[in-house]
Amino acid sequence: MNDDRALIFGKIRSSLNRLSGETLQPPPASAPPVPSIAIEEPGTLGDRFREGVIKAAGSFDQVEGWSLVPKAIAQFLRQHNLAPKVTTVPDERLTTLDWSGIEFNSGTGDRQVEVGVSIGFAGLAETGTVAQVSGPNSSPLLAFAPATNIMVLEKEDIVGGFEGLWKKLRNKYGSGAMAPTINLVTGPSRTGDIEQVLYLGAHGPIRYHVIIVGGQD
């Protein structure tokens, strides 16, 4: 394997005419343009985000505070004729809430879970995307294995687009560092592999529902 590394680097350097055989630092380059759909305009972030969720075949709800999340979830489950049974990520913001009326579990999730509740790290107004990071209080699997993926997101965590997300990630993990798994979720699982007809729920979620915590903006 080390032979292959040396061989490949040798060929690359020869192809690039590196006379000394050394690696040169590339000249600084400017960042790519940020499209207007991704700009950080505080007053419009909520509307743009919610519109994106709908376009991505998802749905949303908005509540004043965390304590109202179980009620919003119960209502969503009733609307969709789903059993009142959820598994949430092991995060205190969810596990300490009053879940009466709903069969509640928290953990990493397995194939039996029908409704998974996760917490978003950031929302992208650009596309209605919720970004989720792995870690001790999180389990990305809950957003992928169950048929219903509910994402709870604080209003303050909605950013313009990718650029806002990268900034939040650098603030949390430090420059160049990342959580082991970061998932950017935009809608339910979908496929067009049979005659290009769109079907939802190819593997994981058939439903993508976002609950925004923080009251109407």
């Binding site: 690039l16 380059a29 798994t181 998932n183 339910p188 049979i194 190819a202």
Partner: protein, 471 residues
């Protein structure tokens, strides 16, 4: 059916006579084109982003050694390992050895063109490892024993009915009769089968759409979420990809994702984009490996077709290609079909075997126009055509005709005489201004009549036309 790049002319003929394929192809490309056009129109900065994406890839190729080193350092810092493979055989060895080291006998895979390129599944199956493709299209062609016919829609050459037949054979169920919801039922059936595979998986093999040097991350893009189930359920993850997939930093990744989703499926954002930076933290002692495959890429960096290495595998060029639209992906004989395949295959497999592919183009230029990283595909096709002639790989008959033409074209007087004779001959062949059957090239008149020349030679008409009397 064993298709090869050498066999393109025969395979193309077979494809044109295949009615089921023609029906499938009829709708596929058009729908992709329409979706892309809408998505592009909705983003005013699309062209600007394409320019930026092109610059990013240029910078990466100009400094590939630097960015690869940076990527490697950061993968290691994240607790992962990087393996280099000079070619497909070496990549197979590495992946097989890693599966054996981690005692994995059941592997789930998410879609990866590089693993198709290196025929990884054969190598794994040969040592008794069960591999399951989990992208629905890839799963369909895997159980059908076929290869992908399109970069992003591997099974688009198959009809719903063929898939129903296949599922019935392989899953041992009754064949679903045609109905409004048969497609949905087939998706559900595959979902059930694949769920068992996901939850029994001991190791994930994925590709990578991009490698981020700054963070040592791989980015995987899917609409089904299958890559995530592959990644999150087992302890071990091996990502296999080409050395050219690097982007310098996260901002650059954002630009690439914006142009990729729109160019490929016409979405503003693919349903699932995953950044993997290190082993799966749901487990104790997990592992994460990145296998970087060269497979002639480092050599191509010094060649005239180097710009093809910018390709982000969106498939837009094939969706806009009239030749691809007519013959489908399989006729091209290798994993990369369409215009980009006609450039990659001669480079990766050798021009002597793939020499027909650069000719499988009308040079209409649509592929180059829609390429999000501005690969001058028609120019590169022309380059391979010239090389084919220069290396004397074309048959004597073809070379003689071209030489004769060149000789003639350089002698205006004789050329004029020959043309005049040709016009006369065509007029003699015609009836009421139309020619029913052209000699030697009767394919041209198979489906429509050829118009007989009117008037004389172009140069004569030019001279006679207004204002050119004195020229």
């Amino acid at each position: 059916m064993n298709r090869t790049v050498q066999g393109f002319p025969e395979q193309a003929k077979t494809a044109l006579k295949n009615e089921a394929l023609q029906k499938a192809m009829g709708s596929t490309s058009g729908e992709f084109r329409e979706k892309r056009a809408k998505a592009v129109q909705a983003l005013p900065e699309f062209d600007e982003l394409c320019e930026a994406a092109t610059d990013i890839k240029k910078r990466v190729l100009d400094n590939l050694d630097y960015y690869l080193e940076q990527f490697e350092t950061n993968v290691k810092r994240n607790g992962g390992q990087v393996h280099y493979a000079r070619d497909g055989a070496r990549a197979q060895e590495i992946v097989v050895a890693l599966c054996q080291k981690h005692e994995a006998t059941k592997v789930t895979k998410s879609k990866s063109m590089v693993t198709e390129e290196i025929e990884l599944n054969h190598a794994l199956e040969a040592v008794g490892i069960e591999v399951t493709e989990t992208d629905l299209g890839e799963y369909i062609i895997q159980i059908a024993g076929e290869t992908p016919s399109h970069i992003i829609g591997p099974a688009l050459h198959m009809s719903e009915d063929e898939i129903a037949e296949l599922f019935s054979d392989v899953h041992g169920t009754d064949k679903l009769e045609a109905s409004d919801d048969r497609g949905a039922k087939l998706v559900r059936e595959a979902r059930g089968v694949l769920r068992d595979k996901f939850f029994a998986s001991e190791l994930c093999i994925s590709g990578a759409n991009f490698l981020v040097a700054e963070t040592g991350s791989i980015a995987i893009v899917t609409n089904e979420g299958n890559a995530d189930l592959c990644r999150l359920i087992p302890k071990h993850h091996i990502a296999v990809t080409g050395i050219e997939k690097i982007v310098p930093n996260l901002e650059d990744l954002g630009a690439m994702l914006r142009v990729l989703a729109r160019s490929a499926t016409g979405q503003a954002m693919t349903s699932y984009v995953t950044l993997v930076s290190g082993p799966n933290d749901l487990y104790q002692d997990p592992s994460f490996h990145v296998v970087l495959v060269d497979g002639k890429r480092s050599q191509a960096l010094a060649e005239e077709t180097r710009e093809m290495l910018r390709c982000i595998r969106c498939g837009a060029c094939m969706n806009h290609c009239p030749v691809y639209g007519a013959v489908g992906g399989h006729a091209y004989g290798w994993v990369y079909p369409g215009p980009i395949g006609a450039i990659l295959s001669p480079s990766f497999l050798g021009l002597d075997s793939a020499r027909h592919l650069p000719h499988a183009s009308t040079l209409c230029g649509a592929c180059g126009d829609v390429c999000p990283v501005r690969i001058p595909i028609p120019e590169l096709l022309r380059h391979w055509r010239e090389e084919t002639y220069r290396q004397a790989l074309t048959p004597v008959k073809e070379r003689t005709i071209i030489r004769l033409w060149a000789w003639l074209a350089a002698r205006p007087t004789i050329y004029g005489l020959v043309m005049r004779a040709g016009i006369h001959a065509l007029k003699l062949l015609s009836k009421k201004g139309l020619i029913r059957r052209l000699p030697l090239v009767h394919e041209w008149t198979m489906h429509k009549d050829f118009p007989a020349p009117e008037g004389g030679k172009f140069t004569e008409l030019w001279r006679k036309s207004e204002g050119h009397d004195n020229e």
